[in-house]
Subunit: 348 residues, 2 copies
């Protein structure tokens, strides 16, 4: 099969690789129907995170089950499935508490499993999915082509935006500010709408992203950044700041902007992988601003979000604004790196 490898910063190659096999009785092998490139894939692409040796990359996928191990009970060959960006057993104490991304057996695509057996990346034709029962959710039937982009977002960005909103405690009537207008930030806008926010302020200075944000439910757009942006948020929220701030970037500046935009008693939900941001302890203490979030427990949200996509309630697939065949994956990385695309969908 063909699989995407990262060799070094800005060196993405589609290569021939051995077809993955069932290596454990709890495995499935999935034929990838759609994959995509994530904002977090840009951290190694840009050299912010080191790449010590070439390895497979990509962690978002929808596909069709091609093989299952003898212990797999909840999905079967031929079913269309969605899985999150981590795999998990869905049975341990931590999973039962809803925190699948910290499952006792959690693992990541593109790195060996705990027994040292290979697990590939998702920007590939085939994928070994360990702990298939705990990871995959099947759709009732094969979904239509038009639904594939939205289903694919459930693998990461929509579930991650949802986690930002849940972590920030978004509820009926609250005011929300979203820091970050990447795919996760836009999905966070959609999540805030679904969770009943009365006012949703998208912080974005890109016309095309603003448009998606408004389509997803943003009531206001703030183009300013930093303290100036936070000041605008305060103006829009009666002088106090937003009840719920969704931090969807992970940089030092975005984290500072998020805290500055939160009102006393406000909640910051953060889902951008931290890269230098800090929690301002004194402001948090003085103003009772909280910080919650982290790596999204996608599996917890999947059944609910799957229902919302299949019913047409949400259409997060709109975050994809460039579709490329898998053999142009390197161009996909370039387009996202140069911000020519919000998010790139890959077809096999």
């Amino acid at each position: 099969m063909r699989a995407t490898m990262i060799h070094a910063p800005r060196d993405i190659r589609l290569e021939q690789a051995p077809d993955p096999a069932v290596l454990a009785p709890t495995d499935a092998v999935v034929r990838v129907v759609r994959s995509c490139i994530c904002g977090s894939d840009l951290w190694p692409y840009r050299g912010v995170n080191p790449t010590d040796e070439p390895h497979p990359i990509g962690h978002e996928y929808v596909g069709v089950v091609e093989k299952v191990g003898s212990d797999v009970a909840t999905v079967s060959v031929g079913q269309f499935v969605v899985g999150g960006f981590t795999y998990s057993d869905n049975t341990c104490e931590i999973c039962r508490e809803g925190m699948h991304s910290a499952c006792e057996q959690v693992g990541y695509y593109g790195s060996p499993d705990r027994q040292g057996r290979p697990v590939g990346g998702c920007q590939a034709e085939l994928l070994r999915v360990p702990l298939a029962d705990g990871t995959l959710v099947a759709t009732p039937e094969r979904p239509s082509e038009e639904l594939l982009p939205s289903l694919l977002t459930l693998s990461d960005v929509m579930a991650t935006g949802w986690h930002a909103a849940v972590s920030a405690g978004v509820r009926d009537g609250g005011t929300v500010a979203v820091v970050g207008d990447g795919a996760v930030g836009l999905c966070a806008v959609l999540a805030a709408r679904e969770l009943g926010a009365s006012r949703i302020i998208a912080m974005s200075r890109h016309a095309s992203r603003q448009e998606v944000a408004r389509a997803f439910g943003a009531t206001d757009v703030v183009e300013e950044r930093g303290d100036e942006g936070a000041e605008r948020v305060r103006e829009l929220t009666g002088g106090h700041g937003a009840h719920h701030v969704l931090e969807c970037v992970g940089t030092k500046d975005s984290m500072a902007q998020a805290f500055a935009s939160a009102r006393p008693g406000g909640q910051v939900g953060f889902v951008g992988v931290p890269h230098g941001g800090e929690a301002p302890m004194e402001r948090m203490f003085r103003k009772n601003v909280s910080l919650a979030g982290g790596m999204a427990p996608v599996r917890r949200y999947l059944p609910d979000l799957l229902g919302r996509v299949l019913s047409g309630a949400i259409d997060p697939g709109r975050v994809f604004d460039l579709t490329l065949p898998l053999d142009q994956v390197a161009e996909g990385y370039r387009a996202m790196d140069e911000r020519r695309a919000i998010k790139v969908l890959l077809e096999p």
Copy 2:
């Protein structure tokens, strides 16, 4: 009247001061029936916080209303009242959302009000209480002498321990670890019990404090500190750590111990004034450990906690293990500084 002043680190003096007067129509003047010394008073006492010039000190009190301004409607002369360690209007948007410690008009005892008028400290015979309607809660009748210590704790430490538990989301069946065995930590144990925790681990190495902790509902005591302490908490909680960790100290070490004791998806509630502690962003992200809390909105909790004390459901006054007359206030500071006393009650 006599009032306690701090002149410099370790220089506490009871001095003659002018009787406070009603300076605004929303003021009350309260005759202090009991006051006390707070762990946070030790920060300036020890020179950790600077004392640039002599100023009144003390922020916890119960008393009897002696005078009221013309706009005061909810308390009247002769009533017994409890007030929190900040004053607030209880009507602004932030108060209505329950975050009175960040009230639009919030103020602190021992510092001038926003108009520059004097507000004394509570370790004194008389106290000017600005925004009396928004700050004071009267008891139905004059409480008995035995209830005074418990009522006094509502002014700060019991409400602050309660806020730690609420901020950490303590609920029925959760496991709780409490970092800090000062008065606030002990009250946090009591709060966790009241909020239904199934297991409450008090982290303490002092026999007398362990005893109070057990009386307040601690099911386990861990004497170890730091990583070793966190390891013991994990052993007691199925290997994962506590669901809810209540950080009641505020130092770098205590904050680290709190985060190390929290399970994936766990919640740290912090109420110790931050002195060098940091939020470990990467661990928070990877394990979805949240941080909430800050300066307690005492006024929000006062009616509920007052009911619990008057009904005998809670007896937080047990945290006082030394009672002194006001003219020995300096000795009270020494006793707490040297950890000869958990908390010192002052009688006029």
